[in-house]
Every structure is written in C-alpha cells, then in structure tokens.
Amino acid sequence: MMMSNSPGDFHCLSLGEDQEELFTENSNSNVVDTQFDIIIGYIEDIIMEEKFQTLQNSFLERFYKEFEETEENKFIYTDIHKEYVNVLEKCLEDELSMRVPDFSMIEFTKQIIERKSELDGEIFEILLTFSDFVAFKDMFLDYRAAKEGKTVDLSTGLTITSYSEMPCDRGEINFGQN
C-alpha cells in the first residue's frame, strides 16, 4: 500500500548498476519511512484522544481480574485478546482510514513487527499489544498490579495486595467457546 516498487523511473539516469540499485533502494526506503512516520504521528494523536482512551480503559477495567502472575496462560486470555483486537484495533483502524486514504492495517502491522527492534515508546507498546500476545498479557498484568497497588517482592515471589472488590462485568462479551 505504501509504494509502488518500480525502479523504472531511474533507468533514464543510466547510472552504473550498483549505483542505480543503491539510489533506488534509498529513495524507496525514504518514501516508506516518511509515510511510516506520518502514520505514526496520526496514531499518536488517536491514542491520546478520549475515544480510544475510554475504550481501552473500560476494556482493561472489565478484564484485568482474569489475569494472574503465573507463567502458564489461561485459554480465556486468548479470547480476551481477540476481543481486544476487535474493539481497539478496529477503533484505531477506523480513525486512521479517515485520515489516510487506502490505509491497510495488515500492511502497517507487518512493518511495525519488522521494525520492532528499532522502535520504542508508548505507541509501539500499544501497537504491539495487538500483534504480540506476550505484550498484551504484560499490559494487563501491569494494569492489575497498578490497580491493586501491588508491591512485588522479587526475592520471594510473594505479592502483597490491597484489593478492592469490584464486580467484574463480563456480560457484554460472549465467549461461547468451541
């Protein structure tokens, strides 16, 4: 979606083969980089907007109690992850489509994964929670720890919790399973 990858434009310059390749490669990746950066800028805006924030918060609020600090994962995490992607990635995608013509989330997510190691910061963490289950789980565990004012004692692995019982409303999402 980002670029038509046609080196044809440069043939008339009749550069040596090596130079031509280098030139083409560089121009291509520059355009891709710029597009990528523009989209990142939009995403920054969107995730700060109230619409996204509210959705994300209510999602975390609704499900954080399902998540536990155990190594093994429960099957329900996968259902919650699916639902999370449906709701939040959808919101982001809709907002982006309004700003970027022909936006493709799938393409963009691929780029993000490829560039994972180069990137950091809050946006990337949020984007990773869509495509990377471990990042998603960590987000929930962090939220739960913060929510419950947990102090994690790493020496014993024990946790001290102050816990406010809140009814966990799961009525709206149907996990009708297999």
């Binding site: 560089n26 990746s29 093994e72 995490y77 996968t78 490829e114 297999n178």
Partner: protein, 184 residues
C-alpha cells in the same frame, strides 16, 4: 547494494519463527520446552492452558507455543493454528495404549487449512524409558509415510536427557528457513 542498505535490511529482518507444540497429554511437551530454555524440569504439572516461550537460537527468534493436550482441551488447539511455521508433534513413546488416538489426532491436524504448508517435526519422546517404541515403530504406527501435505521428519528424543532435541529444532528451522527466508 550499498553497505548502508544492507545494514538496514539486516537490522529490520528479525527472523521470527512460530512453532506450535502439540500432542496428547503427558507426552512431554512442557518438559521439552523447559529443557530447551534451560529451566528445571522436575516440577512440571499438566498444562491446563498454554505456555509461550521466546527463544533465541542461531539468529532466529523462536516463539514456541505449548498447549495442553488433555482430551477436553484439544478443541482449543485451533485457536493457536494461525501463522504457525512449524508444528512439533510430541509422542510419548512408552504409551503404546494410546498410539491410535495419537495417530488420529495428528492426522486430523494435518487436514487443517491454517496449518497447511507448515513443517512437521515428530518427536518420539521418552526414549530413555525402557520398553519405549522406537522412532521407526512410531513412524509406522502413525502412518507418517503417507503424509504428502507437509515436510516432515521424526526423531527419537528424550526431554530428560536432552537427546536429539536440538537436532529436531535445527531441522525444523532449516526447513522453515528454506521456505520463508530465502529472498535475501
């Protein structure tokens, strides 16, 4: 291609591989996973959900998914098929009683569209146990020679001694890499 371009490409291409480890309960999936990761394997209980480990090996980033194999959990397996590059099917070679069950489960997986094209490694695990079936026996009993839909290989192994585990993973990576990472 200029040096800068090459460097950039190398940095961008994190070679990620997704491996899905399945098999009947008690086959040794979680034990294999932990053994790989250099963790203690003495206190492993049956998996009721799933485990994920990310291992760095030979410049590849392996995301290994290990899902519980009890009968009641097998209907969840399908939730983990997506994007699988390699399927590792673990067999308890000492469990002669359930080898038919094992065969059926494997062959129905191979029909799954979302696993089409994935590499299949069969681990004939628990070779350290006396009386365990050989990998040759298991190959016949699981009817592996009839598999035409996937690249496959069977290896005898033991999660306890570690025998052949690495060889299996290396073959799996090589097979996947020859399909996926050939372009540069």
């Amino acid at each position: 291609m200029g040096l800068l371009t090459i460097l950039k490409k190398m940095k961008q291409k994190e070679k990620e591989v997704r491996l899905l480890m399945l098999g009947l309960d008690n086959a040794g999936k979680t034990t294999i996973l932990k053994k790989f990761n250099g963790e203690d394997i003495d206190t492993i209980s049956p998996t009721l959900g799933f485990n994920i480990k990310t291992l760095e090996h030979r410049g590849f980033k392996l995301n290994v998914w290990d899902v519980g194999g009890q009968r009641s959990l097998r209907s969840y397996w399908r939730n983990y098929f997506e994007s699988t590059d390699g399927l590792i099917w673990v067999v308890d070679s000492a469990d002669r009683m359930r080898i038919q069950d094992c065969k059926q489960e494997l062959h129905s997986l191979l029909l799954e569209e979302r696993l089409a094209g994935s590499t299949l490694l069969v681990f004939a695990n628990k070779q350290d146990l006396p009386g365990s079936l050989s990998s040759e026996d298991i190959k016949k009993m699981l009817d592996l020679d009839n598999i035409k839909s996937h690249h496959w290989r069977i290896l005898p192994c033991s999660a306890v001694t570690g025998e052949h585990l690495l060889e299996g993973i290396d073959w799996t990576i090589d097979d996947i890499a020859s399909r996926i990472f050939t372009m540069d």
